[in-house]
Amino acid sequence: MTDALLEAHSLKKHFPVTRGLIRARTVNSIKAVDEVSFIVHEGKTLSLVGESGCGKTTTAKMILLLERPTTGSIHFRGKDLQHLSPAEMKEYRASVQAVFQDPWSSLNPRMRVGSIIAEPLVVNRALTRPAIRERVRELLLQVGLRPEQAELYPHEFSGGQRQRIAIARALSLKPALIVLDEPVSALDVSVRAQIMNLLKDLQQQYGLSYVLIAHNLATVRYMSHRVGVMYLGKIVETAEATELFYHPRHPYTRALISAALRSRPDAQQEEIVLPGEVPSPLNPPSGCSFHPRCSDALPRCSQATPVSREHERGHWVACHFAEKPTASIGSASYAEERP
C-alpha cells in the first residue's frame, strides 16, 4: 500500500439548529458528519458514495477547509491541519484543489478562460506574465483544449469543455490532491467518458490523489481504488473498489448496489427495494441509523450503535451482522423485502 497523503480521524461536523431571533438558542444540532475516518493514499482515488444528505459534500468541504470540523482531525502528509503555520496553511490550500459539479456556475462568466486558469497562479505564485501565459498554454493543452482558446469566455464552451477548464484551473498549482465533487453528473452522457478518462490520465501522469464524491456507482467503480459508503453522516463500509462491489457486507451497500441499474436488460440482478426514505439527520434513529430500513434488523440494532470493524484486510464494516457471508452482484440469494 502506498503512503497516506491525507488522513481524517473521527471527523464530526454538527450544524446547530437555533430558535429565536434576538436571543437565539441552540435547540438541536444536525449531525451532518459523524465520526468519519478515512485515508487518502498517494496517487489513488478514494470515493465517497451515498444518497443526498449523507454528508459526503460536508466531508469534502472540511478537506478543502471550507468548513471547520466540530471535532476530529485531518492530517496532511503527517501534519495536523489545525496546527499549521500561516505559510504552511497557504501551501496546503495550494496543494489541495477542487473541481465542482456544475461547470456553469463554477466559472466566472465575466473572465476570460486564460485569466480563470491563471488566477490561482497570480494569487499563489510570484511569476512573470510571460511565465504565467506559458503555464496557461501548457495547462490548456494538458486538458485537451487549444491554447488560443484562452482568449474566449466560458459561455463559448460546451459543458464538457468547461469542465476541462475547471480541471485546468485545479491543476495550475500542481496540487497533490483534487477533490472532485460530482465531476461528471452534470455532463452529457457522451462526454462523461472523455472527462473520466482525462482525469484518469492526469492521475497517472502526475501521481495525483483524488477524493471523488459521487452518487453514480458505476462512475465510482470505474474511477476509484477505495470506496467509502456513507449513510446519514457515517461511513458504514469502506473497502477496495473491487472487493466492495463483489463482496458488499453492509445491508445498505448491498441495497445501494442492487438499486444501481444494470447496464443490460438481461443482466441478473438481485432486487432490494428499500422501504421508506432516508431519515432526517435532525432526528436520526437510535442505534444503527439504517435499522428502520434494513430487512435484517433485530432488536439489538435499534439499541446499540455498531462500531466499524475490519473484517478482512482493508474491509471495514459498521454492522452487527457483517460477519455472515454475503451475496455479490448477480446472485439472488439475498431476500427481497417489499414495503
Binding site: G160, A218, A241, A259, S263, E277
Partner: protein, 307 residues
Amino acid sequence: MSRWGTAKAVEGVSFSVYPGETLGLVGESGCGKSVTCLSILRLVPQPAGKIVGGRILWEGEDLLSKSEVEMRRIRGRCISMILQDPMTSLNPVFSIGDQVAEGIAIHQRLKGKTLWQKTAEVLGQVRIPSPQGRLHDYPHQFSGGMRQRVVGAISIACEPRLLIADEPTTSLDVTIQLQYLTLLKEIQKRSGLAMIFVTHDFGIVAKICDRVAVMYAGKIVEIARVQDLFDRPAHPYTQALLNSIPNLEDQVDRLYSIEGQPPALHGLPLGCAFAPRCSYATSRCNQEYPAEVFLGADHMARCWGVC
C-alpha cells in the same frame, strides 16, 4: 426561431406506441426528446416553437387538427405527463389534495366527498402512507421522492391510456429511483397503460422499456426492441454510447470515449449529424442524410454504414 435562425429541434421523427408498452426515448440534452413529448400534447411554447409538419395520430385521429378545447379534454384524461422536477411541477401554494383533485374534478366531474375519496385513493395507489391525512399538506411537507409520487398521482388520476414521463427520476436518489420505477411498472401492469419514457440513462432503459428510440440532434437514429438494441446496436452513435458508459458488472481499465461535442441545432450539417464524431464516416455521410434501413421488423437505423 432564434437570432441564429430556425433551430430544427425535432425533424422527421416517427414512432408509435402500443397499449401496455413502454417506449424509451434516449438521447443527450438538446437532442429533442422533450420537444417531441411536448409536441404530442401540443404544449410546445408558442410563438417560440412551432410544429411545422407531421401528424400525431391518437387512436387514428390527428391531434394536430384538434381545437384547443378538444385538446384540453385529451390532456390529463387520455394522455398525461410527468415532468422531471417535482419541485417546479407542483404549485407550492396549493395543498396536495387540491392539486391531485383538480384533474379529477374537471375530467370526471366529481364533487365533494366522492372527489376527496377518489383523490385519497389515487394517492394511495402511488403509496403515499395514510393518504386521507395528507390531503391538506403542502408540497414542502413532502420529501423529494414523495413529491414525485404525488406528481405521478396527478398524472394517473384520470386513468389515462398514455403516460409521457420526461426524466421523472433524475432528481431522485438511486434507492428512491428504484422504488419509483417499480411503482410505475406496477401501475402499468394493472392498467395496461402505454408509456413514453424519456431518459438519458441506459440503465433505466434496460430496466423498464420494451422498445427504445435513440435520438441525436433532433432525429431518431435508431429504434429497436430493448434486447436487440443492447445485443446488436446498429448505429455508430448507439454503439459508442453503450461503450462509453461505465458499468457495475465488470472492471474496465479504459472507457471508450466519443470525441467532440453534440452539434448545435441551428445550422446542422447537410448529411448525418453524427458524421463529424463518427469513426466510420465517409464522404457520403457528410453530404446525404441517411435513409431508414430496416434490420428486422422492429429494428430501424439511419446510417449509411448499415445498408
